[in-house]
Amino acid sequence: MILRRNLLGATAAAALIASAAPAFAQVEIQWWHAMTGANNDVVNRLADEFNASQRDYKVVASYKGSYPDTMNAGIAAFRAGNAPHIMQVFEVGTATMMAARGAIKPVADLMKEAGERFDPASYLPAVAGYYSTARGEMLSFPFNSSSTVMWYNKDAFKAAGLNPDAPPKTWPEVFEAAKKLKATATPNCGFSTAWVTWVNIEQFSVWHNIPIGTKSNGIDGFDTEFRINSPTHVRHFANLAELAKDKTYVYGGRTNTGEGTFTSGECPIMITSSGFYGNVKANAKFDWANAQMPYYPDVAGAPQNSTLGGASLWVMGGKNANEYKGVAKFFAFLSDTDRQARLHTESGYLPITTAAYEKVKASGFYNTNPYLETPLKSLTNKPPTENSKGLRFGNLVQIRDIWSEEIEAALQGTKTPQQAMDAAVSRGNASLRQFERTVTR
């Protein structure tokens, strides 16, 4: 007991010394992220610029592998008692992070306690909604965001006798164009999709204003159930399975590995993330463009608006007030309008504040780079509804794999689309119930 009191005293004294003498030692802020290539440079430059802008805090950015790797590393570190201050978590992990109330520090609280200016209303509604609780409290700091768009090969369109400046707008038009392209220009592929569940279930549902699950796609509570076996969903997968038989539709895999078939010229239409921009720009040796996602014209209200991909920054719990002050300062630094505008035009990720979007728009940047505005137009197409403001499902990382398995079974023909989607719902629900049980105790 005496020993413990002494220890406590010692730690308190140490903390006092640390907080009383910020001038002697910089406070290190650990930032774990999953950015590679050019985006890794962007992250490092942001950290360097912040470190150069003041003396009290030092942001140390560390690359921790892929999105799931980074998240798992952070979770493991938390369990071991040495979590980073800031952790970049992809959109799929949002529900898991939100549920971990004791493990995270809500960004809204962080900014308020540190006295930094922070206005959730300054973010694009689709962005703010994604990372806020049902009561509108922002829990994480939006960082890199993307959305789904349709990339197409203009040269192939010309070769197939299609108008390269009038891309197909609806799914039936895409199917027709793909058949024509495959018959004339690109014999191995009509169209393809990467991130199969994100494009064909998550974005698909949001874009058609139909629920992925009950309770506003899980935002209003963990007792949500999936609704992805609706007639519209089943029809879409029936179409894809039918077209997959003769390679009019080519399955592009669960992640973005299939994107290479677009830049190589094999697939003339690729529906995937707007973040594909850098790769297309660097590697496509043909004339290309992008357009908004297709929709089924007979679905009421379609197209609605698209939702986000990408990641946000989560602040981990259990750090001291001075460290949190540094994190808050860093976030204030990041939300600066000029910095946001520059990040958008340099990285190809979306601007996340309305002010940054307006600024870039006013500068005329989109006249020469219309492809960076397409996802923004989708994202802000209409005011979000309860089906389109975002989604929040626990265990979504694993559920996406379950969905992929069922979609693959439908495309293989081992299950009918109805069977596959029914199984996707029941297996997904089982995973949701398990998540609900572990978080609501």
Binding site: I75, T261, S264, Q398, L411, Q434, T438
Partner: protein, 293 residues
């Protein structure tokens, strides 16, 4: 004749045993007990809330049809990999054991793949057979085979079996080669003088004398396919398509690491551990009897 070391007291022998015993405890018994304990818990990803649920994770597992499918997949995968890697390892070792020019180089080259990490081996094969970029995939296509491991479960299985086999051949080759070197040449020469042809010499003399090595390798290979192949599966197919290449060990990883379901994952690893212990016991009880030392 029995060889025994005689010790005066009990202190020395036990203290000599201690380091080995400590290693076994730290690296085997403690994790195994932890796995059993974890398998009776339900926890959120961060370990903030924990509930002791007795055997509920196991009953959930037993009621899951996907899990039985994984068992079938594992059986197919392990039989194929163990058989292919053992037989090709043996074939290559028999070839290399002959008097040929550049035997050392040949042997060295054959041992190389063993130094390749499973994930890297997976990526190598993935590149060769990637439907749109891979050289071998293009060749298959030009022969009219619609090669598509992304959707065709059999193609995906062939791919992971090839990668896992390729990786293990070197190891088997090395041990078979050592086994062959230990067989006295005089026995084989005697058989040759008696008129036995190479095939007959192999099956009646060499193979029985190799059986201890083969038995050892069988055990090691079973452990390899059950545990070490997950890196290959992860990098090549991630268990897809439609779960066609999800083996038991990959599911342990997918559910525990990606799905943050530590309890369910631990229950699976306990089941897996029991299966491997049972398989090894069966091997020692029945197969070892036929082995001629």
């Amino acid at each position: 004749m029995e060889r025994r070391a005689l010790f005066g007291g009990k202190v020395l022998p036990y203290s000599l045993l201690l380091p080995q015993f400590a290693i076994v405890v730290v690296f085997f018994y403690v994790p195994a007990v932890q796995a059993v304990w974890q398998s009776m818990l339900m926890q959120d990803a961060f370990g903030i809330s924990t509930e002791f649920v007795w055997f509920e994770n196991y009953t959930i597992l037993a009621a899951n049809p996907e899990y039985y499918r994984t068992m079938g997949t594992t059986a197919v995968f392990s039989v194929l990999v163990a058989f292919l890697s053992l037989s090709s390892g043996l074939l290559l070792a028999v070839m290399a054991d002959k008097q040929i020019k550049g035997a050392t180089i040949y042997k060295t080259m054959l041992i190389w793949p063993y130094a390749v990490a499973p994930a890297v081996a997976g990526v190598l094969w993935l590149f060769m057979f990637q439907p749109s970029l891979g050289m071998l995939a293009k060749a298959l296509r030009s022969w009219g085979i619609d090669w598509n491991p992304l959707l065709n479960g059999n193609h995906a299985m062939i791919l992971v079996v090839l990668a896992a086999t390729w990786k293990q051949i070197s190891y088997n080759f090395l041990f078979f080669l050592a086994g062959l070197a230990a067989i006295p040449k005089s026995v084989i020469e005697a058989a040759a003088i008696d008129g036995a042809r190479p095939m007959r010499r192999f099956w009646t003399i060499v193979f029985p004398l190799l059986s201890p090595t083969a038995f050892f390798l069988l055990t090691v290979n079973i452990v390899y396919v059950f545990f070490d192949t997950f890196g290959i599966i992860d990098s090549v197919t991630s268990g897809g398509p439609a779960g066609n290449t999800t083996t038991m060990v990959y599911k342990v990883y997918a559910d525990g690491k990606l799905g943050s379901d530590l309890g369910g994952s631990a229950a699976q690893s306990v089941v897996l551990m029991a299966i491997v212990i049972a398989l090894t016991a069966v091997q020692f009880k029945f197969v070892e009897r036929r082995v001629q030392y």
